[in-house]
Amino acid sequence: MHIRPREKPFGFEKPKSPQGEIEIIEDRCKGCGFCVEYCPNDVLKISDKYNSKGYHPPEVVNEEKCCYCGFCQLICPDFAIFIVEKESEKSKKAETVESKK
């Protein structure tokens, strides 16, 4: 019988939580509200300002809650919001240490 090695719930590697930044191209937004409604962590809110087309683009209100799942990017029908993924700070530090070595 094949014995499987004991695995941690998410595999051997420690799960990385993605880090990033939310970018909103305000002038493309048509104010449909899809991203705000379906953000799992309520990171976004419709803002009070107007863009050049007269719509209210969304704004980031709870950035710390963002899990960078990218659903806002996927659901935006106007290609106006996206996530720029970044390496988490810890891993960055580790990298720099390695490179110094």
Binding site: R28, K30, C32, L74, P77, D78, F82
Partner: protein
């Protein structure tokens, strides 16, 4: 006309999808709250996952709101006549079988005026992916009744309510011989992306139906709110049932919508059969050309 009058976006923000879009044509013409843009996002995400050589992918559209998709995707793209996207794509696929051909069009275009071509392309099993955005209405011409309009929805040409039974696209596709049939909504985008990936991987005629809100005509005439309200409705009423028999997939007005992947099978594609036929045919043809004096 020279390409001078283009709207450029000043900031250096580069959306990851910009590579795949004709940026000189963005913003697109779709209304606020329309789901076609989301379907395009899912398509782009699927292409990213598939890691195809994008030079070898081409998009063909018919006429209508969804018909404009071809004009915004930066691939070899064709905006053809109403209903004839599938035959045009058939020609492309047979002309150069190395290409990946996608037909991206609407329900009226594919099932009404193009219904015959839909059936026969599925029957022949021509290797292409058909993404059918179903918004239950002819939106480009101003909200006329469509072959998918549920009973008794109002449209401008059914001002007293629609009474014609609507088409069930997955069932039609299955019966005609499609090898892969799935239906998602403009909200179930991760699964939609997954489905488009699978549709590309299956050799043969694959159909992915995308239920999408028409915020300007369908929901306004029927007083269903805005695009976002339609998405909320999908959220509450869409039930995922993979492998559901397609006869159960009729869509009733504002009732539950069964979504999922319904058909996934194998059949020889047109080009496979054709090559086989051609290799067998060579001997015949040599015999026949003997009328030389």
């Amino acid at each position: 006309m020279e390409a001078s009058k283009t709207l450029t976006i000043e900031k250096e923000q580069r959306h990851p999808m910009d590579e795949l879009l004709r940026m000189d044509r963005i913003p697109h013409i779709w209304c606020p709250g329309c789901g076609i843009g989301a379907a395009v996002s899912a398509f782009a995400a699927a292409l990213e996952k598939l890691e195809f050589d994008l030079d070898k992918v081409c998009v063909v559209s018919g006429i209508g709101c969804t018909g404009r998709v071809a004009g915004y995707i930066k691939l070899d793209s064709f905006h053809t006549t109403h209903g004839r996207a599938i035959p045009f794509a058939t020609g492309i696929k047979l002309g150069n079988p190395d290409l990946k051909v996608v037909v991206f069009s609407g329900d009226g275009d594919l099932v009404s005026i193009g219904g015959n071509h839909f059936i026969h392309a599925a029957r022949r099993n021509i290797d292409m992916v058909v993404i059918c955005v179903n918004n239950f209405i002819y939106a480009m011409t101003g909200g006329q009744v469509a072959p998918t309009t549920p009973i008794p929805a109002y449209t401008t040409t059914s001002p007293f309510g629609n009474f014609e039974p609507p088409s069930n696209i997955p069932r039609l596709a299955e019966a005609a011989g499609a090898v892969y049939v799935a239906r998602w909504t403009a909200l179930h985008l991760r699964r939609l992306t997954e489905s488009i990936v699978e549709a590309f991987q299956r050799p043969g005629f694959s159909v992915v139906e995308v239920i999408s809100p028409c915020s300007m005509y369908y929901s306004r005439i029927n007083k269903l709110g805005e695009g976002i309200d339609m998405l909320r409705f999908y959220h509450d009423n869409a039930i995922i049932r993979h492998g559901e028999p397609t006869e159960n997939l009729d869509i009733d007005y504002q009732k539950q919508i069964i979504i999922g992947r319904f058909v996934d099978r194998e059949r020889p594609t047109f080009m496979d059969s054709y090559r086989k036929w051609l290799s067998g045919a060579e001997s015949i043809s040599k015999e026949k050309v003997d009328e030389k004096n």
